[in-house]
Assembly symmetry: C2
Homo-oligomer: 479 residues x 2
């Protein structure tokens, strides 16, 4: 290992390699604090050429690599194992915007560019990168691509995959896969960049990408509506799609108890509607400069016809940008407010959009029936068929005991139900180390076999992010 470190230091210089515990410690625990690992060193290369040479060096020495962006992932996908022999490969130093072409609405940037900086770079040209999420101050382009990140704007613009036009990545042997050129049409065989998107660093290290931009938002209106059920919320979603088409950018739901939790948790928060309703819906409609003048009229017509169709019990439109922000603050406050209630297990799940209302009704009732005292809550991206399903422990239950005991058992039950309903046990957070056992348990065997074949072909020695997502060989179940 000394030889390896010497060679790595010679390659990257002192700014590019450190074993100082003070510098590495913040990056060895995932941000939710669930996993802590150790690393032989933290490498911070400054260029694709350095990444390539480093991976070549690792391949020669058989050193495993854990790529990391902003360390804001939800599944421990960027945290090394506790063995101390893996190399933490930070892409954060590679933070340059290489080119931004406003006419073509494209930006080419390095993997370490932070999402918020990407937003600002686009906005400076009257454009927008239409993906955002809570961790935007830390999350990097490379991490967003490697996890195929979602967020609150997927309804209209898709997940990260839909925004990646080109990619550059270093493969397991150190060679550079260079497909940054943003060709709108290219049918020269397999679309290999698609394999790298969402592969959590197990097939290659993303070093740069060309991304799609859209016109900046000139006007937005946020509608807050009360509805009697998720089934009606789904009907309202279809109604809004028909009424304003692609102006619809957000459609988020939460039950009355979640709203109450936020109101009790967030200083100064006020309920948008006078009365309680079983479910609350946040609807965002936006327009660029072209469509801005007509937006309020369109939104008002959408709400009026929703009233007329009996799809809402009550509704209000944001009268100002400050009020729009306040509505979103209520939505963004759900996860922290629910967390404050006590020990809980969280599930990022999806089912086909049209089945989601019945699934939530079924799963909430089933979990609460089987485990008296626990509380099940679903909220989030109804428009994407993706909710965050939280199960909160009964009052007075010990956190560690719940999370490692009953909570784990409940999670397995939730995932069983998701699979039975044709859904996914990971809608937008990925697999990482957190969900690997469940993926092995519940994944389609043909799909798992295919994934292993691909992993074996691209990383035969298993040096890229081992222990995450998928193993080269199926787990030994003979014991």
């Amino acid at each position: 290992m000394t030889t390896f470190l010497d060679e790595a230091l010679a390659l990257l210089g002192p700014r590019g390699l450190t074993t100082d515990p003070e510098l590495t410690a913040p990056w060895l625990t995932d941000w939710r604090g669930r996993y802590t690992g150790r690393a032989v060193a933290m490498a911070s290369p400054a260029s694709t050429a350095e990444v390539s040479a480093l991976v070549r060096l690792c391949a020669r020495h058989g050193v495993a690599i854990v790529p990391q962006g902003g360390n804001s992932g939800m599944c421990g996908g960027a945290t090394p194992d506790p063995g101390g022999s893996q190399l933490l490969l930070s892409l954060r130093r590679m933070s340059a915007v290489r080119t931004l072409d406003p006419a073509a609405r494209q930006i080419t940037c390095e993997a370490g560019v932070v999402l918020q900086n990407l937003h600002e770079a686009a906005l400076a040209h009257g454009l927008r990168f239409p993906l955002t999420l809570g961790g935007k101050g830390s999350a990097t382009v490379g991490g967003l691509i490697s996890t195929n990140a979602g967020g609150t704007q997927v309804l209209r613009h898709g997940s990260m995959r839909a925004l990646v036009l080109g990619i550059e990545a270093v493969l397991a042997d150190g060679s550079v896969f260079s497909a940054l050129a943003p060709l709108k049409k290219d049918n020269r065989g397999f679309d290999l960049k698609q394999l790298l998107i969402g592969s959590e660093g197990t097939l290659g290290v993303v070093t740069a990408a060309t991304l799609r931009l859209v016109p900046a938002v000139a006007e937005r209106i946020v509608v807050w509506a009360g509805v009697p059920s998720l089934q009606v919320a789904r009907a309202l979603l279809l109604h809004c799609e028909d009424a304003v088409g692609e102006a619809l950018e957000g459609f988020e739901v939460m039950p009355q108890p979640s709203l109450e939790a936020v109101l009790g948790h967030l200083p100064g928060a006020r309920a948008p509607l006078a009365d309680p309703h079983p479910w609350h819906v946040l609807i965002e409609v936006v327009a660029d400069a072209l469509g801005a003048p007509a937006l309020r009229e369109r939104a008002e017509a959408m709400v009026a016809s929703a009233f007329a169709a009996g799809l809402v019990e009550d509704a209000t439109l944001s009268a100002s940008e400050a009020q729009a922000e306040a509505f979103w603050a209520l939505r963004d406050g759900v996860a922290p407010a629910e967390r404050a209630k006590g020990p809980a297990v969280q599930h990022d799940i999806s089912v086909p959009v049209e089945k989601m209302p019945d699934f939530v009704d079924h799963a909430v009732a089933e979990v609460e029936r089987r485990h008296p005292g626990v509380q099940a809550i679903a909220f989030g991206h109804l428009g994407d068929g993706n909710v965050h399903f939280h199960v909160i422990a009964a009052l007075g239950v010990d956190r560690a005991g719940f999370e490692q005991g009953l909570g784990k058992a409940i999670s397995s039950e939730v995932y069983d139900m998701v699979v039975a309903w044709g859904g996914s046990i990971s809608a937008e957070h990925g697999i990482g180390q957190a969900k690997r056992a469940e993926l092995e348990r519940l994944g389609d065997p043909v799909t798992l076999a295919l994934m292993r074949q691909v992993k074996g072909a691209l990383d035969p020695r298993g040096i890229l992010n081992p222990g995450k997502l998928v193993a080269l060989a199926p787990p030994d179940t003979s014991a």
Copy 2:
């Protein structure tokens, strides 16, 4: 082979297997008449289960499989080799629409559904499948997916890849990869359906798919404009995108000589504009029922501001659906009219959209300078950075001699230029057998190696469409 045929017959029955030359002959030559093969038999399974059992049987006997849809591909990708030992696997009998969900705007259908039937099935529910191309009366869903087909609506809705929500395919060992469930969000690892899209049957046999539908077109207006150069045409494209946003569905270009060729070749055709212009642009804007009332006013404003900005020399808007059809007939007439001029070689190429005008100017001048007497013509999908680049032989030159001699040399020169400009030697037609040698010659070595690794992992014995797209091993260049 007798044993294999006996077993296949027992499996599929007489409707599912034939060796009758009269029945098989039409399917053994590609539709452009460039390639003719032989087959041990033509199998026409009726279900995914039959395809699975058949592939298993082929794997056991080492019989290679050539999947085929409507046999309307452009690169010989569905034609067996002349050896006579490959099995032609027609998916045409699998032509059922399994489900159509109008609210979710999704259709799940088998691989053999013909594009035109898909259009009609969607239209019956007020919806549209937004991809179309010349061969829509023959092309099947399976073929469109396997070639990631393009066409004239890619500008707005993307190629086939953007419309595939789920896929079912039979893999090289006969196992069924089943991912039809249309989850909007699913981050359980590699997106394997993306590998199958555009893989030309070399990684699996697509048996069914879930596809995205959009609202039907309620109103469309086609603008015909004359412009002084392709550079101005590109500026006009950006202008139209800004002016009408996503109402813009088509942006096609042709030079004056091509228009003249169509006018001389198409009975009753009339020039839309009074005077000749160096380049002609066809612009299509459409609206669903919601946007229909405002469409003409928006289109007129777009054209008026284009005049004001000096972006068009002249322009006219279609006054009726019949006139819109007539404008499109001129566009669709270019390829046949150019073919009627005499022997030619055609190239389906792309470069980054913003470089296309300069590339065309350069390539046309260069080809005509190097080869006095030939005529080079580019026309097509400027909005996608994709033109069809035809080089027509000098007058009196023999067809076969040109196509096999000088034409081939010119093609290589064209592809060299495309690669030098960062483009693709196949924008929308694929590789098949037609472009395989050029892909080996000009492809990025890292990408080719990756493709071979993936091919080797998914089809280690090479029984899926051998001789197409990519070989398991690099060609032997030691001789």
